[in-house]
Structure formats: C-alpha cells, structure tokens
Amino acid sequence: MTVLLAAVMILAALAALGVVLSRQTMYSALSLVTTVAMLSVLFLLLNAQFLFAVQLIIYAGAVMVLFVFIIALLSPDVEDRPALDYRAIIGLAGVAAVTILVFVVARNGVPYNDQGFRAVQLNAACAHLTTSHPPCDPYSTFSFPVDAVNAAGNVQTVAGQLFTNYVFPFEVTSLLLLVAAIGAVYLTRRSN
C-alpha cells in the first residue's frame, strides 16, 4: 500500500512538472489528465471513494475534455522559447523551496498555543491508551481505522454532512454553477 501510494504521488508530481514545462499545449493537457488520474487513485487510498469518482468524472471527464476541445479548436502555436530558460529554473527553485519548507513544517509540527497540530494528534491518538507500558508513539505506528469516519459508507457520510450542516454552501454552489453557465453563454454569443 505504501509503495502504491509513493508511486502515485511521484507520478502525480512528475506529471505536474510536465504540465508546467511542456512546450506543446496538448502535451500539457495530457500531463494534467495523468495528474488528475493519479490524484483520484490517491483519494481512493485515503478512503475518499466518492471524491475518487467525482474527480474522475468531473476532472478527467468533463473539464479535460473541454480543455482538449478548446486546444483542438484554437490550435495554439508552440511556444518559441526553450522549455528550460532562466524563468523556468527560477520557478523550479521556488517550487522546490516551498515543497521542502511545507514538508519540514508538517513533519515537525507547528507550535502554537503550546500545543501544535502534531501534539493534538498525538494526544487524540493516545487518549484511549491510558495504561500502555511502552510509551505511546502513535505518530509512527498508529494508523487510523478505516471505519472511524466512513462507518455508514463514504457517500452516505459525505451526503449527510452536505445536506445537513453544509446545505447553504451547497445551494450557493448550485447558484454559482448557474451563474457560470449563463456567463459562458453570454461571453460566447455572436455579437451583431
């Protein structure tokens, strides 16, 4: 499982680099399809089955078909600069810096209010182990039970939140989609 996760994450990162660095627009689109597919597998490994399906249907299905259709329609030129000029190198250095920074911070925890996120996590994980004779080190050994959140099933759980606590944001997103559809029709109408 860990090997699969590592392979998926490395492939997603490489395909993301392909999106940024490809000179052909169509290659960028195909790299983005790869990234999206790999991320959907990642969601499946993280027990987000509903979002796995949504990611495949909406991103790899609808959004990427729209991108490829627009690329085929407009057929933009190949950019006339080398793929790795000084701007790309500066950008890649920034990408590496941000990634390493976030990884180190997440690894060591962010101390705030004398209890960082990691401390909270450790306490929550060790809460039920009051009489453990080896010292509780859940951050390295504890793996969260699969059914802790998804006891009733992933779709039921997400839908339960979506239609009770978050029903107002859900309705607002429907309004957003309506506005986007009207805006797209307005923008692409043939002016007379």
Binding site: V19, V20, F50, L51, L74, V98, P169, L176, L187
Partner: protein, 103 residues
Amino acid sequence: MISANLFPYLLGLAAFLFSAGAAGVLIRRNPIVVFMCIELMLNAGIVALIAYGRFLNSEEGQVFAFMVIVVAAAEVVVGLALITQIFRLGRELDVDELNEMSD
C-alpha cells in the same frame, strides 16, 4: 490502511502541486496552459483538504473538497469562454500581449 506518518508527504505533495501551478501561471504565456496551472493549484487544495480530513478523522474535508471541485468546474467554463472570445477577436493567444487595461 495508511499510517499517519505519511501525512507530511501528502502535505508536501500538495505544496509541490500548488507551487508548480503558481510557477506555471507566472512562467507560461499561453492562457490555456495558465488555466491548466490554476487547475493544478485547485487540485493541490483538494489534496490538502482530503489529507487533513483523513488524518483528523473528519469527513468535512471531503465536503469542502467537493465544493472546490464545483468551483473549479465553474472557473474553467468561464475561463475557456473568455479564451474563445479573445481568439475570435483575432488576438494572439499570449497573456503578455493582453495589456490594454494597464495602458
């Protein structure tokens, strides 16, 4: 079953995707590729939300990731309509050339 010590790697992946998308928005000149890089940044947000939701034992991360996907779909629809309209006006597809508002 994924152990919790993989959580920093997931956040690192999210940071990598976001910063790669941001660098692409700054570097690339083709507006279609710029929109793809914005999609990368939104995907990074989704990854971070789902990872946090998984390792904090909360399903609300998935709810908000769902909202982000909806917003990304709406953004792509309007953005590609704009690109199509720019192309129809006979303009070159280059974000460095579209600078009327700054002149």
